[in-house]
Subunit: 395 residues, 2 copies
């Protein structure tokens, strides 16, 4: 491949709505709210935008609306500019992949200002439809049709991790406890309530060994980021955050086809590519927003990203090595999918928003000290898609 | 924006399955069939691929499967390479937009060989579910919820075009007649049968004035294209087709919000951008694959693309100005969505396949004479997304 002197991508502005049950707002309302707030944060006018991407997973099934991308422009009053507007879908990784498309478009030199949104409206549908959404991110023919659910597959992974590495039920629970402790400090989080280890273990079972408190909720919400090229960043915010690494990888959609069930090659590859591009090592990272649709997902994530050693995810969490004060890195200061909430397509962009706030020193009440380098890690299904970004303070 | 000396994108190989009712094949089977055939046509080995895109509209609703991109790799036996694999959705424009992402990635210098697929499995579901798919590409809240269907909106456009330009019922029908005449020569088409003008006019009404023979069918099918950069093309096929222009544009999702209902600003803008990039004028084009989910769509398409003058689409078709022998340009030599069939996400890639075959001189029985420059025009819903590519013979 040719080495081209490419423009660098910067994040100028971010926003996300409150995540949670928002029955009074349509997905269109949520998307517009997040979009306008991000433009304001970026100091960008509508007529400066060159292209738009949006990540969403389930609007086709849950709201009967595909073809979401033009709506984002509509909501922002920009439809008459006839901009390119593109929707990306990769189950829970939809937002992160949409963000990556924006980064790539800027790096290609074809756009100076790109807006990327994520949205999901999941809570005002039937339980059956909501369940079906989870199973649409795993392999429908080879997994769900024969009875597996997303939760059941993650439970298998948890049991296998316990057998292979001695991970305990309490260590898994500690991940939920930590994310709730973080989420309690986040005004936009769905659950702003600390929980006890015992509560997680004794909560109603979803799929042995996972209880309801091991699982991230379904949520309504939208998030938005405004990116620009290094060629124009000086005319906007002086504290724009640099996107120095972007890595994406995939694996077999069906869990049983993968080389390992207790580690994610997709996450390993995506992060390797992102670190390489950024020229950083994992030891340089102070803050990480990682994928935790289930507690065991976060266990694998921190191991596969290299934040802790293989097999030590549970112990490291118990020992406080991934939280404020005691950890070299703070994992999911936002509360993660578990406590901030998980409107699927919005999650990947909300992760970017959190890291941007951390790197700008604006994460009141949950600020990671001296945060200069942060990563986002967004996955779909049981991890068949993983996307990792390295963000660095522009100051 | 910075002007970068970018690699050019070339189409090395293409394929599509037969379009139609294929109850014996799953969407996974179809995708794999098209993918392997395209790789063979390209002369590309699996381990030479850098990234994958896939366009699909309705698998989430119709097959319960989102997160389609990793499946494409799985089917091709490439999952263990952990490549970036990304799904694009834009209703009927899903395939064309996926193709554009591949073009942009190659131009960015980040990939040398990119595979782009499109797939849809639409015929083995209930009529109600099939109907719902069409309405998921128009504005659910502002159009479908209050009773409009995709067909009804196109019927409104047809009536308005008749009122504004004197277009006749017979002129609309002539579009279907022409596409069926072309499709009869295409062995992969869903309908290989010529039809009479009177048959179209007298067929059962769908939405006045449109009859069932004005409407493209729902179809099963998959298509695939293999692209490479100009840096490596010499080591593959000598007759690779160059992608010299790519334009994408959007408009209000709801028809009533647009400045005009009888012309598409999205198509006008997308084609203007594509022609500009390619440095060609519409007079240079010998073959055009355009969007015809309804006969009236093709009427607007040929006008908005500049292939005929505004308001003359019907007359030009009646006079044979868009067909073999008598036309300066042949529109939809494949039979178009109407006769080749319309598996939504696959259509945009099948258009590319047809133009590539035409430019390589391989369109047996329906070869456009001396075809050197062709365009593809792919739209979603009532045209809120439009994407146009200019392809040129590499010989």
């Amino acid at each position: 491949m040719r080495r081209i002197d490419r423009p660098e991508a910067h994040v100028l502005g971010v926003s996300h709505t409150r995540f949670g049950e928002q029955w009074e707002k349509s997905f269109r309302d949520l998307m517009t709210e997040a979009g306008l707030a991000a433009l304001q944060d970026a100091g960008v006018q509508g007529d400066e935008i060159d292209a738009v991407f949006v990540g969403t997973m389930s609007t086709g099934k849950l709201v009967g609306q595909e073809h979401i991308a033009p709506l984002l422009l509509d909501g922002a009053g920009l439809a008459d500019r006839h901009l390119p507007a593109t929707r990306i879908e990769a189950a829970g990784a939809s937002g992160g992949l949409a963000f990556r498309q924006a980064v790539q478009l800027i790096r290609s030199g074809s756009a100076d200002v790109v807006v990327v949104g994520g949205v999901e409206k999941m809570t005002d549908v039937s339980d059956a439809d909501a369940q079906a959404i989870g199973s649409s991110g795993i392999d429908q023919e080879w997994e769900h049709f024969v009875g597996a659910t997303e939760a059941a597959l993650h439970a298998l992974v948890a049991k296998l991790h316990m057998a292979e590495h001695g991970t305990t039920r309490e260590q898994l629970a500690a991940i939920a406890v930590q994310n709730h402790a973080h989420g309690a400090r986040n005004p936009l989080a769905q659950f702003r309530k600390e929980i006890e280890l015992e509560a997680v273990v004794k909560a109603p079972k979803v799929a042995e060994p996972l209880t309801v408190l091991d699982c991230a909720p379904l949520s309504d919400g939208a998030a938005c980021a405004v990116l620009c090229s290094g060629d124009v960043v000086a005319s906007y915010r002086q504290d724009a955050v640099r996107v120095t690494g972007s890595g994406q990888a995939s694996d077999h959609l069906a869990l049983h086809s993968r080389r390992s069930m207790t580690s994610s090659r997709a996450t390993q590859e995506a992060s390797r590519r992102a670190y390489l591009e950024a020229g950083v090592s994992v030891a340089d990272v102070q803050v990480a927003e990682v994928s935790d649709p289930y507690t065991v997902s976060q266990l694998l994530a921190i191991e596969d990203l290299g934040l802790v050693r293989r097999g030590e995810g549970g112990r490291a969490t118990m020992e406080g090595r991934t939280t404020f004060g005691t950890g070299a890195v703070v994992v999911n200061p936002s509360g993660g999918l578990k406590a901030r909430g998980n409107p699927a397509g919005a999650t990947g962009i909300a992760q970017v928003a959190e890291v941007v706030w951390q790197l700008r020193g604006e994460a009141n009440g949950r600020q990671v000290k001296d945060a200069r380098i942060g990563i986002t890690h967004n996955t779909g299904g049981t991890g068949a898609t993983a996307v990792v970004h390295v963000l660095e303070s522009g100051l």
